[in-house]
Symmetry: C2
Subunit: 133 residues, 2 copies
DNA sequence: ATTCTTGCAAACTATTTGCAGAACA
DNA sequence: TGTTCTGCAAATAGTTTGCAAGAAT
């Protein structure tokens, strides 16, 4: 049997913060932000909490290219990100096409419990115009 | 100007080994295998070489869920992966639909120089059947 | 009261880097 | 010969874990 975790100040703080976040954040960023808000939480606890949340499916976890694990709220609908390489501006986009494609591909190969990660990178208009390197 | 790297015994050994590999291997696995074959190569050199190869586009690099970076030969064109969560079996898939969708989304938001990452995860047939939990 | 959780510090893993000597062009 | 490359060891970065003290039920 799976036990529901106890409700503690720390876990509530982490969950609350995550619920407010739009994009992805690393465990360290989340911890830093909590501390900045005046919460007293240990970094290990943040890691442990995020892992638990990810295991239970309440948050999505994904590895960034630099090796950090990023987490994001998973309550709102599934969507992806269009991120500017230069200024990191992020646009949330939905892709029914992609979802369906991914499901179909998985089915064709006899895979179940399908999930996927998708990020699009590019240079946004402002960065192209305004910022010469 | 980009300088072509020098041809050394170590780099040749790494390239040769990668060319022989079918799936993904970590830097450590590649190093271990080279040593096993009798090559004398330092681990750092393997890391540096793989990075260079990845930068120049000669190999694909991808982060595994456990944090290791995996490399594979990149002779064929752009494609994505369908990976089994349980046994890590990987199927290479192509997605013209996705490529087009990504380009269109980016264009709609005035982004240029578009690239994207996409991985699909699931549980493969064998793992579903064979492994009862 | 008992059991789960926290936080610190130390341990770990994968990867990167400084530097002196070796290898290439 | 003048760079570039290598290998070692030490340094990083992110994350995990042991354990004693603190909370939750």
């Amino acid at each position: 049997m799976v036990e529901a975790p106890r409700s503690t100040r720390q876990r509530r703080a982490v969950s609350a913060l995550i619920a407010d976040l739009d994009g992805f954040s690393s465990a360290q960023q989340i911890h830093a932000r909590l501390v900045a808000e005046g919460e007293t939480v240990g970094l290990s606890t943040v890691y442990r909490t995020l892992q638990a949340l990810a295991d239970s499916g309440e948050v999505d976890a994904l590895r960034a290219d630099d090796g950090e694990t990023l987490y994001r709220n998973c309550s709102r609908g599934h969507h992806h990100h269009l991120v500017c390489r230069s200024c990191a501006r992020t646009v949330e986009v939905e892709g029914p096409v992609v979802e369906q494609w991914a499901d179909r591909i998985a089915a064709e190969n006899d895979f179940t419990d399908v999930s996927h990660t998708l990020e699009i990178f590019g240079t946004c208009g402002s960065c192209r115009t305004g910022v010469g390197s």
